[in-house]
């Protein structure tokens, strides 16, 4: 018996390939500023949405470090994050970690809720955050590929994700 518990999140009620990713408008944050942007106006080619738990969690830190190391941020696909943190928190995080990536700040977590991947945190009343998830979209915002964590925490097999998402 392991002496730790990995929380089962159960199957996510997330969107399936072929469906159109719901549009939303939120502050899009870089290491320097933020401005309201809609997903619809942002997507003009292949795009991968990276949903992470809130900034400050080790999960968010590990995932972005891994993606940066694997060169995801320098590929042809546009990589865009979504998380349940304030613009200030996101901007500081990107600055401190030298991450040249744009992240939607969604403190109320409604976007993750719309995408069926919200996770209410035990012991943090009133706080919800996205499950770790990758959603690849084509230029028309049609969903191509989805990976969603089923456990918390769960990290993907990045090599497999890169193959499935055509990112290798």
């Amino acid at each position: 018996m392991p002496e730790f518990d990995v929380v089962e999140l159960g199957p996510a009620d997330h969107l399936e390939p072929g469906e159109t990713a719901p549009d939303f408008t939120r502050p899009l944050v870089t290491d320097e500023f933020w401005e309201d942007r809609s997903l619809a106006e942002l997507v003009d080619g292949r795009t991968v949405l990276v949903f992470t738990p809130m900034i400050g969690s080790f999960v968010a830190k590990y995932v972005w470090s891994e993606l940066a190391e694997r060169g995801w941020l320098e590929r042809g696909e546009r990589i865009v994050g979504v998380t349940a943190s304030t613009p200030y928190g996101v901007s500081r995080f990107l600055d401190e970690n030298d991450l040249p990536v744009e992240v939607f700040a969604d403190p109320t977590n409604e976007v993750a809720d719309d995408y069926g991947i919200a996770h209410d945190l035990d012991g943090m009343a009133g706080v919800s955050e996205p499950r770790l998830a990758f959603v690849a979209l084509d230029a028309d915002r049609s969903i191509e590929t989805v990976w969603v964590a089923d456990e918390w925490p769960e990290f993907p097999d990045y090599d497999e994700v890169e193959t499935e998402f055509g990112l290798d």
Binding site: E32, F33, E35, Y88, S91, E102
Partner: protein, 110 residues
């Protein structure tokens, strides 16, 4: 991450601002009164973290506006208000006594 200030169907005016900064709110009120479309780019309270404003306008204070319609980039709220009113409203043209006075009052922005 493009810093280009023009996108299709985007407002001509980009407004660099700080949350709860009264000088910025004054510019926001003027933009609203003149019925001008604009998009807001919020920056950090720390001046050291305002490289984007420095690159765009040569200063680290906000408010700053960039008007693609006229090619004007401007800092200091009295100057901005004066510019907006003289360009898009019935305000005093630049060079007027009011404008000179406004210029002399600059330096208090965040």
């Amino acid at each position: 991450m493009s810093e280009a200030t023009s996108r299709d169907d985007e407002p001509a005016i980009t407004f660099y601002r700080l949350q709860a900064c009264p000088y910025c709110e004054r510019v926001a009120r003027t933009l609203g009164e003149l019925g001008l479309e604009y998009r807001s780019r919020f920056v950090e309270p720390l001046h050291s973290r305002r490289d984007v404003v420095k690159r765009v306008a040569g200063v680290r204070t906000v408010p700053v506006i960039v008007d693609d319609e006229t090619g004007v980039t401007m800092a200091e709220s009295p100057n901005i208000v004066d510019y907006l009113e003289s360009t898009y409203g019935d305000g005093p043209p630049t060079g007027s006594a009011a404008a000179d006075r406004a210029t002399a009052e600059t330096g208090g922005d965040d």
